[in-house]
Chain length 375, copies 2
């Protein structure tokens, strides 16, 4: 059996995703579709609108054969680490191709990766600009293109990860239309995930844009998971923890802990808190992730203890057969059911993230839960 | 000027308190009434129904002349430390008498304190009983009385603290009627604080039982501060913090950290959480305080760094004159206005407790706030 791999968030799973995976399967002639999916928090550190189980079910019922969770340690990360985490799993799962959308699928991303090797790293220390800005200045000078669209940035990161990891699959970018407008407003049956989330928040009807499984899960939501609800947990942690201890948090260094602490003491909602800590040096994405790391009390030690694994969230009959085909050759451990020992050991971070997500009123996310079987 | 001292929570300030302080003044022939009052959290670690400023205002408008805050490090404590903390301040403030209610004011509490010195301390290690139970077994054998009523317990603690601190004031117990029934139901114009809080929760009219200042503050409440609201902060702290770090929390030792952590992972409301951690060894009062210490992330180090001070919350003209009379001879520092330096230094714990209380939507409790002046 031949597999095509996808890296997804499915936040939520919509018609565009169904179209994209059918296209990926057709393009590559694959027998099965393997998706590595973020859990209950996105790359930007935001809670997903539906939990990972609802999203897995919708994916399985609409063409995906195997859903593996991207562990939170790699999921809530900037593009380069997110890409490396996801592609390491897909490579280990022996997919033949990885298909992904990009705003400019015709660009030579592999050449960009080669060009990067000659960049002047010493010039990256302008602390009044983000790393991304400085990187793009150099990239544009060499290749004529700057990476400003989110999926182009990921496309570059995938090529970079493939080169660094010497992965065996083929990378296949396809056209993705994603613009600022499309992320704000519904555009018919194929609408963006961002537009769909906005519409749900505004109590608009989205049934035209998503499969029935997503529609029914969205209809059951009593609250839309968001950072404002988690903010008291973050703020109290910042207020009550001495700065030297906060500095043991992953990515919280160089005085950022004091800035965050001061802002938490002054601001009562997440939006004004974020505005107060924003500087040119840190993007909103970075600060949202830092907020997540703090609320999870994610330490440098926690990250050092993390090792990747395949956490299976669900499969179809074809997915099960494929898993059976590859499982003897996997380098990373395969986890199907989470037990008491795992929750305090290799799975601790995902377990803690699931507990955090449960404050939105969702059921237990991990302990004793096995894969969804659509067989 | 001669002062009478009171140790109070005023949760909330009601007619019984007004009657009690007038009686205290008359009995002792005092010119001014000095109250040492808990801040925003009670001895049991519960948030007060009104913040310390509303309670100070009501007290000043109804006969108290000077309100000094009992710092949270001494306020949220079992009777013996609570009593020592409060009486140390009153002694330093040179009050001539301390008047307090007891269920049995005729008992010879001083003799009980003397009797305690001969108790067999070695017999106090039955871990299946609370310290209080074991103490009472010995006390009853010697004096014929057991301390079971809350104000009798405090009366004993006051006598014990006076002996230990060699305080100069006279202790004056007066009759206090407080029974289980009175704490549940309103009993007319003089009702208990517990009954008044219950009535407010049940949207009953309490105007007959409290002075107008309390009534108007209660009428403005949009939410009644309670532990259920703070529980997500506590639960997430327990879930996300490794057990060895939790053990650095004040009073969290000997495996209690694991028991608390496990309960936080399983229970979604404070009531069922508390029930799950309850054992014969720990009273509910103790566990509520532990919940407070954890949510405040109060460490052994924090407690070691704490030193008492007089934080003035408010005064009348007479109170101001009295403060002027004694202030040159105070052993503890006098704090009127809280500044930026203090919030991270000597006043850090009260500042953090105030920030925790602000999650109920109240205004800033400490920074830049000076005493209420009813002059």
């Amino acid at each position: 059996m031949k597999a095509v791999g996808l890296v997804v968030e499915y936040n939520p799973f919509h018609n565009g995703h169904r179209y994209h995976l059918a296209q990926a399967k057709r393009l590559t002639g694959a027998d099965v579709v393997v998706a590595v999916m973020s859990g209950d928090f996105t790359q930007r550190g935001e809670p997903t609108i539906l939990d990972k189980w609802s999203r897995t079910l919708a994916a399985l019922q609409n063409g995906v054969d195997l859903v593996v969770e991207l562990p939170v340690a790699d999921a809530v990360q900037p593009a380069h680490r997110f890409a490396m985490g996801a592609l390491s799993l897909l490579n280990d799962l022996q997919v033949a191709d990885v298909v992904f959308g990009a705003e400019h699928p015709d660009w030579d991303f592999a050449a960009m990766v080669k060009a990067e090797q000659d960049f002047n790293q010493a010039a990256f220390h302008q602390f009044n600009n983000t790393y991304a800005t400085q990187f793009n200045q150099q990239l544009e000078a060499v290749t004529g293109h700057a990476l400003t669209d989110p999926n182009d940035i990921l496309a570059f990161a995938y090529h970079r990860a493939k080169a660094a990891g010497d992965f065996g699959f083929h990378l296949q970018p396809i056209q993705r239309v994603d613009n600022h407008y499309a992320d704000q407003q519904l555009t018919g049956a194929i609408s963006s995930a961002g537009a769909i989330r906005q519409a749900v928040k505004g109590h608009q009807d989205v049934t035209e844009t998503v499969p029935v499984q997503t529609a029914s899960a969205l209809a059951k939501l009593t609250t839309i998971p968001n950072w404002e609800q988690l903010y008291p947990l973050l703020a109290n942690h910042l207020i009550q923890t001495p700065a030297p201890l906060l500095e043991q948090t992953y990515q919280v260094k160089e005085g950022l802990e004091n800035r965050l602490k001061e802002a938490a003491e002054r601001h009562r909602d997440f939006t004004s808190f974020l505005k107060a800590v924003k500087t040119k040096r840190y993007t909103y994405g970075r600060l949202m992730r830092v907020a997540f790391y703090l609320t999870l009390n994610l330490s440098d030690q926690d990250m050092a203890n993390y090792h990747p694994y395949h956490r299976v969230l669900g499969f179809t009959a074809a997915g099960q057969a494929y898993l059976h085909q590859v499982k003897k050759e996997l380098s990373y451990p395969l986890i199907t059911k989470v037990n008491q020992r795992m929750k305090n050991a290799e799975l601790a971070l995902d377990y803690r993230a699931g507990k955090l997500y449960q404050f939105f009123g969702t059921p237990e996310q991990d302990l004793t839960r096995g894969p969804i079987r659509l067989v």
